[in-house]
Symmetry: C2
Subunit: 193 residues, 2 copies
């Protein structure tokens, strides 16, 4: 990677961390310049606006990072419901740099920007659509093996899991990781036969 490409990627990663903690609109350009030690000239050489940087941050940092912990663990799942619960447990408790009080970076951005920035919404929707597909596939296999609550249809179940994750991340901001424990427990209640 060229030095310039490294600078660009460093900006995106530090911006991701700032935006995760403070929100997109509340993170100013000067915040980003201060923590990256990059000058305004350098920033605007790499990005033509704050929004272009924000979109690149979603596509080049947030998306691959979340895809890795949301979707990848499901691609080689062998024990359906168990693998889903394992993925969710790790997603909630073991992703470095994610903290209960700050929630999920993807969920946060949906909440803040889906209504006002369609391009952001589309970029975030892609992640959740793919997550839904992976969850649905695993649930389908589980169902064939009789290891899934027969009342749960794979497609609807997948969406319901995503809804639960999003809600747990939100309620975690109010009540701490107790919301996570509870969600994991009731999720199994819902999924198991």
């Amino acid at each position: 990677m060229s030095k310039a490409a490294a600078t660009r990627h460093m900006i995106l990663e530090k911006a991701f961390a700032l935006i995760y903690r403070k929100g997109y609109q509340a993170t100013s350009l000067d915040d980003i310049l201060a923590t990256t030690a990059v000058t305004k000239g350098a920033f605007y050489y790499h990005f033509k606006s704050k929004d272009e940087m924000g979109l690149a941050m979603i596509n080049e940092v947030l998306y691959p990072g979340m895809q890795r912990v949301m979707i990848e663990p499901l691609l080689h799942a062998t024990d359906g419901v168990h693998d889903i619960v394992l993925m969710m447990t790790r997603l909630l408790y073991e992703v470095p740099d994610l903290e209960v009080k700050y929630g999920c970076p993807a969920v946060n951005l949906i909440d803040e920007l889906a209504a006002s920035k369609p391009e952001f919404k589309n970029a975030l929707n892609k992640l959740f659509q793919e997550w839904k597909g992976a969850l649905s596939t695993v649930l389908g296999t589980s169902r064939e093996q009789g290891k899934l609550n027969p009342r749960v249809q794979p497609g609807l179940g997948a969406q319901f899991i995503i809804i639960g994750y999003s809600g747990a991340r939100n309620l975690g901001k109010l009540q701490g990781s107790e919301a996570y424990q509870l969600f994991l427990s009731e999720l199994q209640n819902y999924l198991k036969p």
Copy 2:
């Protein structure tokens, strides 16, 4: 109500509508002054800062408004699970001025401000704690009558319902009211014996 009190309340109501659509930080004082036709002098006569207004808005507009649709319908519930599903259906589809793309005003503010403004967080937590209590009571009665899925403990079930609501409001911003339908259907799956 005196004219001054009416002015104050009008500011809070219009601020509520603006903040619901744009977010708290993205709603400027000038936005509020423009839509209320109130001058800066009048505004700062009634509130000593934007945050004091925001907190008053939560306590005097958001809280009573949401309490009315979240909690009140549960206080005289006769048919447990059915009454919960009815409350939730109306909450999602029939509350005037709430739109799918803007989500839930309470959930939005938790997401945006719980981490940075403890007073806001506490004010919002109160609403959700009371909702949890009301839901828990209804689920307890349902359980005694054998009308609740025996795997669902009232306290945990109440929290899970709240998590689901919050998640549905969030995912609704991405996928529209399909997220609501799905949530209502799977919620019944989870609750019914």
